[in-house]
């Protein structure tokens, strides 16, 4: 049960009626124009091979079929995501393979046909002569002596590496009363959005303009990347994200299919439509979280943290992704690790490792779910070793109010964070103390786990420059236009895939405009309509996009107050905008409607504008969030394990949560619920599996088991709203914390349930098979 639904701010989502009535327009709902060619991408069946030749003659014999290979796109330059900084190997990503394929799914040819059926028939007839080469699949393969190299520019298969230590680190560690060590690992997962990727490219030869509709989170970045790769002015390109059925970070990357669709549409002067299927998505959409965290934790005798030493590895796959680059997980791992704890000493080595597998990219929480599994797993281990309650060891180390503003060991600034209150309330909500009274079923092993987490949100330009990323501006923008009737249109540089922007941004603008949210239309996702910005990822919406919305709304509100003051002969400073009218503070009964102000601003009213004021109520404002904003949560998961099958069931789940001032608590709850399920999957059942040759064996939803609604626990949730000091409007970002918290809370609960057995839970997914083996080994003794 969540509290959010009873809050008056929880206005129903504007998006929902349309979505529920089937009126949404996803990529495949766009009617293909006459003459459209349907695309299929021919992908490598080998993890690593040389292409000796491609024979497409049999495919060309089918009616209307065209097969295009690298030879047909001689000017398509490979793309590089990273700045030429120390630690980054200069490895670009080819758009279409020329002579070498580097993962199963790497793109070899584009097959075009009058419909998708014929295109698939044709794909079977294209004969590619491959000379298979040795492949490295796992982190261990890639780092072994004499391992095959994925790229000559990346010796030792290191795409990115970084190491650092705080001053006095070694001495502090040497003097520690306790040093605990553990290695944690996570299996690779896929981001399975309900709607796979897809795009439709249309070229107008007369105007020289190309429009690309794509199921993407980043229309402006996509346009910018296409422009660079194809040498087309951005002004001649329009990118539109229609309704998008989920992205979760996976659609925040730019993919070769999008670039090739535009290149082919321009080359052939025919519309090109591609709708990816589930296998395309499993093979060629970014994978995530194939990571290891080696952790050493130093503590005082009483359980006070001294510091951590990390050795982080991330399997980055065959190429750096565009635009997040090879450092997305390896860089993010140590950056997000410190969490809500106070410690001074920090050293890490981190490496992004190239393998002959699908490139990794951002997925909800990026490295943090694995990082917090490691951090919170260490806290539990220390509690056990020191004989402390697991809540108590956290209390001894959580940041307190006197610590703020706090700069953590990886340089992230925290303006505030009610971590003690979050923990205390979560223990109440979950009835942590009453656990023993519920642990009574002889057929089930029961456990309870705590996770205290932080979520870094709202990154701005400074963060992306510091991360060495070339193609992510980090800024956002909003254009606000009040129409002559007093309604408003808000154009935002971001784009929505279910986050509720159309509702939330309207609510944010309404606060200063005095226009009801239902009279504010939010437009997103079309580069021809919206100002330039970065896109929707990394929980930046309400902080970065919202910052631009607030600035634009305040700019227009100030102008409306000046006009209202002029009409009512009052000081603009005394004007209050609310409920559709401008009132004069302290003068009851004196007011004019916002519609009248809007008519005046459009020269449709007898009284003109104030002297020197221009016509129109129209502004574009940019926002660059200067420092990240840190949200926080405490998750308490209670699970049970069926003693005879090893099956895990989530029994109870509680979350306390702070994302600053909430705009729409119902949307915050919804974001958190969905995120929890995306944390539960990788702990209990999700994993991508390759064989030793690099063949992906999990390419359908039968093999790759995703949780369903039936696996979703009831969640008790409470918010402790602590307005941010470092953002506009006191907001902090939200969307990833649910995943970041669910992974460690569930893992710790499973470990707790297995407390009487000889098993060390340090890898996900936790398989019933492993648990049952440990249970039956002991029980049969």
């Amino acid at each position: 049960m969540s509290m959010g639904h009873n809050d008056p701010r929880s206005v129903p989502r504007k998006e929902d009626a349309r979505l529920l009535r089937g009126q949404a327009r996803f990529l495949d709902d766009i009617e293909p124009p006459a003459g459209t060619l349907h695309a299929i991408f021919l992908r490598s069946p080998h993890a690593h091979a040389r292409i000796l030749g491609i024979d497409a003659s049999a495919a060309h014999a089918l009616p209307g079929v065209l097969v295009l290979t690298a030879e047909d796109f001689p000017h398509l330059a490979p793309l590089s995501p990273d700045l030429p900084l120390a630690g980054f190997a200069p490895v670009p990503r080819p758009i279409i393979c020329t002579d070498t394929v580097r993962f199963v799914g790497d793109l070899v040819a584009l097959i075009l046909a009058p419909d998708a059926y014929i295109a698939e028939d044709a794909a079977e007839l294209v004969l590619v002569d491959y000379d298979p080469l040795p492949a490295v699949v796992t982190l261990e393969d890639a780092l072994a002596d004499g391992a095959a190299e994925v790229h000559p520019q990346a010796p030792g298969n290191l795409l990115f590496q970084n190491r650092t230590a705080t001053e006095g680190f070694d001495a502090a560690f040497a003097a520690a009363a306790h040093v605990f060590r553990e290695d944690f690992s996570a299996s690779r997962v896929a981001t399975v959005s309900l709607e796979p990727r897809g795009c439709l490219a249309r070229h107008d030869a007369g105007l020289g303009e190309t429009t690309l509709f794509s199921s993407t989170q980043v229309p402006h970045l996509l346009r910018n990347t296409i422009s660079t790769a194809l040498g087309i002015p951005e002004s001649a390109l329009r990118v539109v994200a229609p309704d998008v059925g989920g992205g979760f970070g996976m659609k925040a990357s730019v993919y070769p299919e999008e670039l090739l669709a535009v290149a082919a549409a321009r080359k052939l002067n025919r519309p090109i439509k591609w709708v990816g299927d589930r296998q395309d998505d499993f093979l060629a959409s970014s994978h995530a979280r194939d990571m290891r965290f080696g952790v050493e934790m130093a503590m005082e005798a009483d359980g006070t943290l001294i510091g951590f030493r990390l050795d982080v590895l991330a399997n980055a796959g065959a190429y750096p992704g565009i635009p997040f680059g090879s450092s997305i997980e390896a860089g993010g791992g140590p950056r997000t690790f410190p969490g809500p704890y106070r410690f001074k000493h920090y050293a890490f080595r981190t490496r992004a490792v190239a393998t002959h597998t699908t490139p990794s990219g951002p997925y909800r929480g990026v490295a943090a779910p694995v990082g917090f599994m490691a951090l919170e797993g260490m806290m539990d281990r220390a509690a056990a070793a020191l004989g402390l309650d697991r809540a108590e060891i956290r209390r001894r180390n959580l940041l307190v109010d006197a610590d703020y503003p706090f700069i953590n060991a990886s340089g992230i600034r925290y303006d505030n964070g009610p971590h003690h209150a979050l923990l205390a309330r979560a223990l109440e909500l979950s009835d942590y103390r009453g656990f023993a009274t519920r642990d009574t079923d002889p057929d089930r092993l029961r456990g309870i786990g705590i996770a205290c987490i932080t979520e870094q949100t709202g990154q701005g330009s400074a963060r992306y420059r510091a991360r060495g990323l070339l193609r992510i501006p980090g800024i956002e923008a909003a254009r606000l236009k009040v129409e002559p009737d007093g309604s408003a249109v808000l154009f935002v540089s971001q784009t929505t895939q279910g986050q509720g922007h159309l509702t939330t941004f309207a609510q944010m603008a309404a606060e200063s405009l005095g226009i009801a949210p239902e009279h504010i239309t939010v437009q997103e996702g079309d580069t021809a309509l919206t100002p330039y910005g970065s896109g929707t990822f990394a929980s930046r919406g309400v902080v970065a996009g919202g910052g631009a919305v607030i600035t634009a709304a305040e700019t227009i509100a100030a102008k409306m107050k000046r006009i209202a003051g002029h009409i009512m002969e009052a000081d603009p400073a005394d004007i209050i905008l609310r409920d559709g009218v401008a009132e004069v503070n302290g003068v009851p009964g004196l007011s004019i409607s916002i519609e009248e102000i809007a008519r005046a601003a459009h020269a449709m009213r007898p009284i003109g504008m104030p002297p020197g004021e221009t016509f129109g109520l129209d502004t574009t404002q940019h926002w660059d969030q200067p420092v990240s904003s840190v949200s926080a949560a405490c998750h308490v998961a209670e699970i049970s394990i069926q003693r005879r099958t090893g099956q895990i069931r989530v029994e109870r789940y509680a979350i306390t949560h702070d994302c600053g001032r909430m705009i729409n608590p119902m949307i915050v709850d919804g974001q958190t619920h969905g995120a929890v399920l995306q944390g539960l999957g990788p702990v209990l059942m999700e994993r991508l599996l390759h064989d030793s040759e690099g063949q992906l064996m999990t390419t359908t939803l039968l093999d790759y088991t995703l949780p369903t609604m039936l696996d979703m626990p009831d969640i008790a949730m409470d918010h402790i709203e602590t307005p941010a000091l470092d953002t506009l409007g006191g907001v902090k970002g939200v969307a990833e914390g649910g995943t970041i918290g669910a992974v460690p809370a569930l893992v710790n609960a499973i470990a707790h349930a297995m407390r009487g057995y000889d098993i060390n839970i340090r890898a996900i997914p936790v398989r019933p098979e492993t648990l049952l083996r440990a249970i039956s080994t002991k029980d049969s003794r």
Binding site: R644, Q647, L689, T698, T708, L710, D711, P768, L772
Partner: protein, 281 residues
């Protein structure tokens, strides 16, 4: 995920369908509810030249009783079978595990039998209940007991020119249970046990049948477990010994979902659970 070209025929009579089958044999695939066949078609794992759609054929669905025997038309939708008062309780219960509601609305009982997915629930229930499959062709009709019907994963005794017409289930014992486990709630079975049994006045097992999913690449009966339990009271020790005896020679599949050893371990637990539950019912 688009199928290769195929011919589509939708005869409105059984003789029409059997004639097409006689003509095309192996090259034809029968389309019933399509819940398994359609994914195979779009992944190009099934490539029939002729898709023989029997959804318009009259007289292939319905549930009737004949001298205690239940006769279920092959095209009867799983949801209808599950809900019909005539359906043996064990079969209805097994169908409760057969995928989500939307799948059961469309999927047919005959389709599930003929497809013979080793993880499917209805075949295990049919085997447990000694169901008889009625196969029809232009050559005539023959009856095949469930024990001789499921030959291997996705392989049955149906000849290329034959069609499964009806499933006949003789009267069963008074008690039953169905226990299953999968990766998720409501998922494909990784392992399952179906049992129906009778108790004598002293509470001893006087008759018992046990079928397993996940013990082989097809549903199988566990005769050694049945024998071990006959005449016994269901104590934890007898159940454990019977389960071990029943699964001693089992050769379960080892795949991405579970290893063979894990399937055996889980089946032992499920067998004990299922028999206990049936006895307590």
């Amino acid at each position: 995920m688009k199928p290769p070209p195929f011919l589509h025929a939708a005869p409105e009579t059984l003789p029409g369908a059997l004639e097409l089958l006689a003509e095309h044999g192996d090259a034809a695939r029968i389309l019933a509810g399509g819940q398994s066949l359609m994914p195979l078609l779009v992944m190009r794992m099934a490539r029939p030249a002729l898709l023989l759609d029997i959804n318009r054929c009259a007289g292939l669905s319905g549930i009737t009783r004949h001298d205690g025997e239940t006769r279920i038309g092959a095209m009867t939708r799983q949801i209808a079978v599950q809900r019909a008062p005539e359906t043996p309780a064990l079969l209805a219960r097994a169908l409760g595990w057969a995928g989500p509601r939307a799948v059961r609305n469309r999927g047919t009982l005959g389709g599930s039998m003929a497809h013979a997915d080793p993880s499917a629930e209805a075949p295990a229930a049919a085997l447990c209940l000694d169901a008889v499959m009625v196969l029809e062709s232009r050559r005539g009709q023959r009856l095949v007991p469930a024990a001789e019907f499921f030959l291997d994963a996705l392989v049955t005794a149906i000849a290329p020119d034959e069609m499964l017409l009806e499933i006949r289930i003789p009267p069963g014992h008074p008690r039953h249970a169905f226990a299953e486990t999968g990766v998720r709630q409501a998922d494909l079975a990784m392992a399952a046990i179906a049992t129906d049994l009778a108790l004598d006045r002293q509470g001893r097992i006087s008759a018992i049948r046990i079928a397993a999913i996940g013990a082989a690449n097809r549903p199988v009966r566990l005769p050694l477990a049945e024998q071990a339990l006959l005449g016994q009271s269901p104590t934890p020790a007898t159940l454990r010994d019977a389960a071990r005896a029943g699964l001693a020679g089992a050769e379960p599949p080892s795949d991405l979902i579970a290893s063979a050893a894990h399937r055996v371990a889980v089946l032992e637990g499920l067998l004990a659970d299922a028999v206990l539950e049936a006895c307590a019912a």
